[in-house]
């Protein structure tokens, strides 16, 4: 339903000291998300995954490239005319504490977008409250309890559910969940994740899941695509299970190697990759962006730019001159 090609975004720093410094957030990224599909963007903070998510949700502009939503190219439309397209894509913020207006009750929060929706679809005013209650039940909340309350009276998990309910008021076709569980208590995270999974299965909503946590991405969309993003570029792309079980790009391998092993339950992978530390990595833009940290890099890596493609007989696309499967992921201990 949404496709992007060659998306580039550069932030120019303002302020006296850093004025004029440029940060390349995205360096020509392609993506495509099917209706009802699940896609996850994996990467560390600052890699551009959040910026890309915001661009997809229509909350950020891009410098060049093209986005096509349901067959309509956004470049052909005036900014105002794009809005209805981007409204189909709703962002779930990372921070449920700032995503809800502290001065408004949940009823007020849901009422405003529903009233707009009622007007657009010529529904009677009475539909609004029915729908608000319906949506809250859908996300697993008790409408009677939640509606009259202010955000501060709800727990983080409940707030995030309200945020999801609010996104659903406009009947979106896609939800962009940006680290949607990272600020929620561990025992409640899975509840939010399974809610997103559930919405995808029951309502056919596509889910774009942006995270640094590969395991949660696996939970949300095991059958979907995973994009591994490093410094504004996709370095590896393929099915989630493929990438987790047989990553070929050293960066992906470093990421997977860094996931803590539950000793006692799991045995660490034997070929864990530890990248060298880059103290000021942003300086070098030649060749492979990961070359300076990559334990396997050669002269070719620092001079030539590898492109994302399917090569070497691997199932996924990658951008490495020397792709190689490495056993980095932990394996479960008890076969019993």
């Amino acid at each position: 339903m949404i496709r992007g090609t060659g998306i580039v975004k550069t932030f120019k720093q303002r302020g006296s000291v850093l004025a004029g410094r440029e940060v390349k957030a995205l360096r020509g990224v392609d993506f495509s998300i099917e209706k009802g599909g699940a896609v996850s963007f994996i990467g560390e903070s600052g890699c551009g995954k959040t910026t890309l998510g915001r661009i997809i949700a229509g909350l950020e502009t891009y410098d060049s490239g093209e986005i096509v939503i349901d067959g309509t190219a956004m470049s052909a439309l005036k900014p105002r005319a794009r809005q209805p397209y981007f409204r189909r894509i709703q962002l779930i913020h990372q921070d449920p504490y700032s995503a809800l207006n502290p001065t408004r009750t949940i009823h007020q929060t849901l009422h405003a977008p529903l009233a707009l929706r009622a007007k657009q679809t010529r529904r009677p005013g009475s539909w609004i409250d029915t729908r608000a209650a319906e949506l809250l039940s859908l996300v697993g909340l008790d409408p009677g309890y939640v509606l009259p309350r202010y955000p501060h009276q709800l727990s983080g998990g409940m707030r995030q559910r309200v945020v999801i309910a609010r996104a659903l008021t406009v009947d979106p076709e896609m939800l962009v969940a940006d680290e949607a569980t990272s600020m929620i208590d561990v025992s409640l995270r899975l509840g939010i994740l399974s809610l997103l999974k559930d919405l995808r299965e029951r309502l056919g909503v596509s889910v774009l899941f942006i995270t640094h946590d590969v395991a949660t991405a696996r939970y949300i969309g095991g059958d979907g695509d995973m994009y591994v993003i490093y410094r504004g570029q996709i370095v590896e792309r393929g099915k989630v299970e493929t990438i987790i079980s047989s990553p070929v790009h050293p960066y992906t391998q470093s990421l997977l190697s860094a996931i803590p092993v539950l000793h006692g339950l799991e045995r660490p992978g034997e070929q864990r990759v530890v990248p060298t530390e880059a103290l000021d990595e942003s300086k070098s833009d030649d060749g492979c962006l990961f070359a300076r940290r990559c334990p396997f890099s050669t002269d070719r890596c620092t001079s030539e730019i590898p492109l994302l493609a399917r090569s070497g007989g691997f199932a996924q696309e990658h951008s490495c001159f020397y792709p190689e499967r490495r056993n980095v992921v932990a394996t479960p201990l008890e076969a019993a």
Binding site: E44, S45, S155, G156, G157, M158, D185, V186, S187, L188, R189, L190, G191, L193, S194, H212, D213, V214, A215, T216, R218, Y219, G222, I244, S254, L255, L256, S257, A258, I259, P260, V261, L262, H263, G264, L265, E266, V274, P275, E277, L279, V329, A330, T331, P332, L333, E334
Partner: protein, 352 residues
């Protein structure tokens, strides 16, 4: 450390300020309760905690928000701030005595020299206006270190050990350092006065995966090389699994289960530990086996006053859980506080 002077655990003598005991101290927390004053009266943040940090081990304390883990960490320094106060119990640290009884100057000396503390979000706990080196000197002066050169040398050595360019870092301001570098500076500042008991509060929160792995490796290595007793407070079971020898699981202000990390992870006994482990999506195995825990963790105001604190969310709930707080029962190196586990002997592996 090159200079190591073995002295008994008396008050430090002035000319020889580096005379703290050079071995990893043991810590025994006994019946510790901390209450916070609220409009609804004094509410317990932690209640009757018994915990032993064995010399030379890393103990991981895991808990969600409101479990009291940070309060426990602060109690180790006797640094609970009003409106909170230590209401009962003791924190015995080898070579220092009961920290709960310490006051004023003694306490200030103990922090830093005996106990190093790496604050939650150490990434942001540096003074943005001063270089790291200046802050190091401030720390040395406030602790009456006579040989500041040696202190700087020690700091450089520590930073170098953690993979950083010591001289450069000491010349840097906070904003010139990345999150992982700041965290290492935090660890350096906690260790530079030669403390042998180190408390790390959420050492990797807000760090990237790869940086987290690096920091955890460093914690482990520095712990072994310097012979420390370490306590790591975190909400992330993975972090504990990576570094800790022993694991204590906190819930609602109680330690509900503790034991050797591998054993607890392999055969969790308390229903909360099991639920928590089951609620973590894993990279391997059947992903659909992950199950969310029902309900939500209690807050200061909603912790049940009597009975088991976990019963609201517990699948094994029995009548007795309503009224009687489960006692902590030992089974070898493992301790569990649960009526159901006690009744069923060791309920091993009957859960799916």
């Amino acid at each position: 450390m090159a200079v190591s002077v073995e002295t008994s655990a008396e008050t430090p003598v002035e000319p020889m300020p580096e005379s703290a005991p050079k071995t990893a101290p043991g810590v025994r927390v006994g019946g510790l309760s901390v209450v916070y004053k609220t409009p609804a009266g004094e509410l317990p943040a932690i209640a009757g905690i018994d915990l032993e940090l064995r010399p030379g081990t890393i103990t991981g304390v895991v808990g969600e928000s409101g479990s009291g883990k940070s309060t426990l960490a602060l109690s180790l320094l006797n640094a609970v701030q009003p409106p909170g106060r230590i209401a009962a119990g003791s924190v015995e640290i080898d070579g220092l005595g009961d920290v709960v009884g310490l006051r004023g100057e003694e306490l200030r000396k103990a922090r830093g020299r005996h106990i190093g503390y790496v604050f939650q979000a150490a990434q942001n706990s540096l003074n943005p206006l001063k270089t790291v080196g200046k802050q190091l000197l401030d720390l040395g002066r406030s602790h009456g270190v006579s040989d500041l050169r040696a202190l700087v040398r020690e700091a450089k050595e520590l930073l170098g050990r953690m993979g950083l360019d010591g001289a450069r870092v000491l010349d840097s301001h906070q904003h010139e350092l990345s999150g992982g570098m700041r965290q290492r500076v935090g660890i350096m500042l906690a260790l530079v006065l030669n403390a042998h008991l180190v408390v790390l509060d959420e050492p990797t929160t807000a760090l990237d995966m790869i940086t987290q792995a690096t920091i955890l490796r460093i914690i482990r290595e520095v712990h072994e090389e310097r012979g420390l007793t370490t306590m790591v407070i975190t909400h992330d079971l993975g972090v504990v699994a990576e570094v800790a020898d022993r694991l204590a699981v906190m819930y609602g202000g109680r330690v509900v289960e503790q034991g050797p990390t591998h054993e607890v992870l392999a055969t969790p006994r308390h229903p909360y530990t099991r639920g928590l482990l089951g609620a973590i999506p894993r990279l391997v195995g059947d992903i659909d086996e992950a199950r969310a825990l029902p309900g939500r963790p209690p807050t200061l105001g909603t912790v049940p006053r009597e009975g088991c604190v976990f019963r609201e969310r517990c699948a094994l709930r029995m009548d007795v859980c309503e009224t009687v707080e489960p006692p902590t029962v030992a089974d070898g190196p493992r301790l569990v506080a649960c009526h159901a586990v006690e009744a069923g002997g060791a309920v091993r592996e009957e859960s799916a």
